[in-house]
C-alpha cells in the first residue's frame, strides 16, 4: 500500500434498526435519488441508499471507470429464502425479476447504473469483516485508481430466524447496514486516509506500526469479532483507547461500521482495526487516519 496511504474522498455508514416487519425503503430512496427505482429488491434499495449518500457527501461524482467492490456476508438472503419456500412448499417457480434480483452482484449493477460507472462490479464475501477482504484484495490498486467499496447487510424476517443465521443470542437487537468508502487517489481534500493493511505476526507489531503511522490525535483500537470473542487484549495498551461506536443493532458489517464511522467523524487520530481468524497464523491489521492527522 502507498506510503502516504490512499485518500478517502468520502465515508458513510447508514444503519437501520430491524423491527418486526420489513420497512420498504422506496420512499427514502426516491427522495435521495430524485427518481423512482423500479423492480429492485430491498437489498438493492439498501445498497443504493448507502452508496448514493456516500457519494453525495463528497459533492462530486465518481469517474466512470471507478471500480465498484461490494461485500455482503449473506447477500439477499431474505428473498432467497422466500423463493425457496415458495418453490418447495408452494410448488411455484420464482418470478423472473425476483430470480434476477437475488443474483449476488445485482445490487452492484444498480449502484453502478445510478452512479454512471462502467468499471469492474465485484461482489465479495469472507466470513465476518468482508470489507477488509475487499480492501485486502484491492491493495495498492486503490493507490492508482478510484474505487467505491461498500458493505451491505440486509436482514430477513422473522428476526429470530435471522439471529440464528447470524449466530447471535435470542433478543439481540438487529440492524441493517450500508457502509461505504470512496477511495480516490486523485482527491486533494480527503476526509481521511487508508494508511495500510497488512498481516502481522503479533498485536504488538500492529500497535507499534499504527502508532508510528499517525501524526497526531488519539490512538484508537477496534478488535474484530473473532479476537473479541477470544478475549484477546482484555487490557487496553497504554496510550490507546477502544473505538466501539454504538449502532442500532447487530449486523455482519461491524468492521465497516467502525472504519466508516471513524473516517466520517472528523476526529483527529489513528484507528487500528485488528482481527485474527482461527485459520490464520497472522493478524490482519487495517490502519486509517482521519483528515487532521494525515493532512
Amino acid at each position: 500500500m502507498a506510503t502516504d496511504g490512499i485518500p478517502v474522498r468520502a465515508a458513510l455508514a447508514r444503519e437501520w434498526p430491524v423491527s418486526d416487519a420489513p420497512e420498504n425503503r422506496r420512499g427514502e430512496l426516491e427522495a435521495l435519488t430524485g427518481r423512482r427505482q423500479r423492480r429492485i429488491s430491498r437489498f438493492t434499495q439498501i445498497a443504493l441508499l448507502g452508496a448514493v449518500a456516500c457519494v453525495d457527501e463528497a459533492r462530486a461524482r465518481p469517474a466512470p471507470e471507478t471500480g465498484l467492490y461490494m461485500v455482503s456476508s449473506h447477500g439477499d438472503v431474505g428473498d432467497s429464502a422466500t423463493m425457496l419456500e415458495t418453490l418447495y412448499r408452494g410448488h411455484q417457480p420464482p418470478m423472473p425479476f425476483d430470480f434476477i434480483n437475488v443474483s449476488s452482484n445485482m445490487a452492484g449493477f444498480y449502484v453502478a447504473r445510478e452512479l454512471g460507472l462502467d468499471g469492474p462490479n465485484m461482489m465479495l464475501a469472507r466470513g465476518t469483516d468482508s470489507l477488509v477482504a475487499a480492501l485486502e484484495l484491492l491493495g495498492d490498486d486503490a493507490a492508482h485508481a478510484p474505487f467505491l467499496v461498500g458493505a451491505v447487510e440486509a436482514a430477513s424476517w422473522p428476526p429470530e430466524v435471522h439471529r440464528r443465521r447470524l449466530q447471535v443470542a435470542a433478543g439481540t437487537p438487529l440492524a441493517e447496514a450500508s457502509c461505504w468508502l470512496w477511495l480516490d487517489p486523485g482527491c486533494a481534500r480527503p476526509v481521511g486516509h487508508l494508511r495500510w493493511l497488512r498481516r502481522v505476526g503479533s498485536p504488538e507489531a500492529a500497535l507499534q506500526a499504527a502508532a508510528a503511522t499517525g501524526d497526531g490525535g488519539r490512538l484508537l483500537l477496534t478488535l474484530g469479532e473473532q479476537l473479541a470473542a477470544a478475549g484477546a487484549m482484555a487490557a487496553i495498551p497504554d496510550g490507546w483507547a477502544r473505538f466501539a461506536p454504538e449502532g442500532p443493532g447487530y449486523h455482519e458489517a461491524g468492521c465497516a461500521r467502525v472504519l466508516c464511522r471513524f473516517l466520517a467523524s472528523g476526529e483527529p487520530g489513528t484507528l487500528l482495526f485488528l482481527e485474527r481468524h482461527p485459520l490464520d497464523r497472522d493478524y490482519l491489521a487495517v490502519c486509517v487516519t482521519n483528515r487532521s492527522s494525515s493532512a
Binding site: L87, Y88, F99, P120, L279, D280
Partner: protein
C-alpha cells in the same frame, strides 16, 4: 478499467476438474473431442410431468464440500504445493449459486415441519471459502466472488493481481456449481432454458442447459517451466440491462483484456466464447467479437454444449477444459453445433482442430452486466 492491467503473467501450476465430462483433464479432452457429455434428464418433484436437461456430475457425493475439497486437494497436489507454501496459499472461490444446493438438501428434509424455513443455518457466502480452507488445510487469505456467471473468472484475475503485487505466492482459484432447483426454475422462469440439448452459436439454438462443475487451478508467479500462463484480463460492468450485455460493452471488455494481457487481436490463436446458447447472448457476443477482432476470426468454440452452463464455475471449469484439450493437441469443437447462423457472422468449429499452443481469448459474461475476458497462453513445446 482492467482489473489486472500491467500485471506480469501468472503461471498455472496445477489443476483438477470434475464436470459432466468426467473427472480429470484426460476425461475432459476425451469427451470434448467427441462433442462432450449428453445431459441427464431431471424430473423435479415440485413440477410433476416436467423434464429438464442438466449436465450432472456422475457418481458424485451430494455434499458440496465432499466434492469440492477433493478437487481442490488434487489441484494443490498437482501443483506440488506442500508445507509452508500450501499453508500460505490464498483461496479464491467463484460461484453463482453458492451454498443453495446445500440449503435445498437441508430444507427438503424439513418439509414436514411447518415451522422450518430455508437457509436457516449459520454462514453465508463468505463461509464457503472458510470451510474449504479448513477442510484442505489452507491458511492464506480467503475470498468469495459472486458475480454470477463470471464469478470464478473474476476470482482468477484477482488472484493474479495479488500474486503480481507480491501479496501472495500462490492461490488456488475455484469454480463450483452444484445442481439446484432454484437455479433451474429461475432460468426456466426467464425462458432461457433449451428444450433439448444446448446448441451454442447454432442457427437453431434455443437456450442454455445448466451444468454442474467443480474445478480448481493453482497459480503462482510466472516461471519458464510452466506450460500455461494467464497473461491478463479485464472486467467491466454494462449497465444497459441486468441480463443482457451489449455488443459494444463486450467488445470494450475484450479490448481491455487484450491490453492487460499485452496481446494484439492478430495474436489470438483461438477463442473460447461464453456461448450460452441463448439467441440474444450469442448474437451480442458474436457481434462484439467481430467489432473487436474483425470479420475473420480465429477458431471459435463454445464448451457449454458439452459441459453445460456451469454458471459461476464456468470460468475455471472452461479454462481447465480448454487447457486439457490443447494439452491433448486439439482445439475443441463447439458441441451441439450443426448449422451456421448468418446473423451471427461467426461459424464455430464443428470438429477438433489440431492445435498445441498459442494465445487463447476466454470470454465470460454474467447477469448484473458483468463482462469478463482473459487471455491464456500455452508455450510451444
Amino acid at each position: 478499467m482492467a482489473v489486472a492491467a500491467d500485471n506480469p503473467p501468472a503461471a498455472v501450476l496445477g489443476a483438477a476438474t470434475w464436470t459432466a465430462c468426467g473427472y480429470g483433464a484426460a476425461a475432459q479432452a476425451r469427451s470434448l473431442r467427441q462433442g462432450g457429455a449428453a445431459p441427464s434428464t431431471l424430473s423435479p418433484e415440485m413440477a410433476p410431468g416436467a423434464a429438464y436437461a442438466y449436465h450432472l456430475l456422475a457418481d458424485a457425493p451430494a455434499g458440496l464440500l465432499e466434492v469440492l475439497a477433493p478437487v481442490v486437494a488434487a489441484a494443490l497436489d498437482d501443483a506440488g504445493l506442500r508445507g509452508e507454501a500450501r499453508q500460505a496459499c490464498g483461496v479464491f472461490v467463484g460461484s453463482s449459486s453458492s451454498t443453495v444446493a446445500e440449503a435445498e438438501q437441508v430444507f427438503r428434509g424439513q418439509l414436514d415441519d411447518p415451522a422450518a424455513v430455508p437457509l436457516d443455518a449459520p454462514g453465508g457466502h463468505g463461509r464457503l471459502p472458510e470451510r474449504l480452507a479448513e477442510a484442505v488445510g489452507l491458511g492464506g487469505p480467503r475470498f468469495y466472488f459472486g458475480t454470477a456467471c463470471s464469478s470464478s473468472a473474476n476470482a482468477l484475475l484477482h488472484a493474479q493481481r495479488m500474486i503480481a503485487r507480491g501479496a501472495l505466492d500462490h492461490a488456488v482459484v475455484v469454480g463450483v456449481e452444484r445442481s439446484n432447483w432454484l437455479s433451474l426454475f429461475g432460468f426456466d422462469s426467464l425462458m432461457l432454458l433449451s428444450g433439448g440439448r444446448g446448441r451454442p452459436l447454432d442457427r437453431d439454438r434455443d437456450g442454455l442447459v445448466l451444468g454442474e462443475g467443480v474445478s480448481a487451478m493453482v497459480i503462482g508467479p510466472d516461471t519458464p517451466d510452466a506450460p500455461w500462463r494467464l497473461l491478463g484480463g479485464a472486467s467491466r460492468v454494462d449497465t444497459e440491462t441486468p441480463t443482457n450485455s451489449s455488443p459494444e460493452s463486450i467488445a470494450a471488455t475484450i479490448r481491455a483484456a487484450m491490453a492487460a494481457a499485452a496481446v494484439d487481436g492478430d495474436e489470438i490463436t483461438a477463442i473460447k466464447a461464453h456461448g450460452t446458447g441463448t439467441p440474444g447472448n450469442d448474437l451480442a457476443e458474436c457481434t462484439g467479437l467481430r467489432q473487436c477482432l474483425g470479420e475473420t476470426l480465429p477458431p471459435v468454440t463454445s464448451l457449454k454444449g458439452g459441459l453445460g452452463h456451469t454458471m459461476g464455475a464456468c470460468g475455471i471449469v472452461e479454462i481447465a477444459a480448454t487447457m486439457a484439450c490443447v494439452d491433448a493437441g486439439f482445439w475443441p469443437p463447439s458441441a451441439g453445433f450443426r448449422t451456421p447462423d448468418p446473423e451471427l457472422g461467426v461459424t464455430p468449429v464443428a470438429a477438433p482442430v489440431d492445435l498445441r499452443h498459442g494465445r487463447f481469448l476466454m470470454n465470460f459474461f454474467g447477469f448484473g452486466g458483468n463482462n469478463t475476458a482473459c487471455v491464456i497462453e500455452r508455450h510451444g513445446d
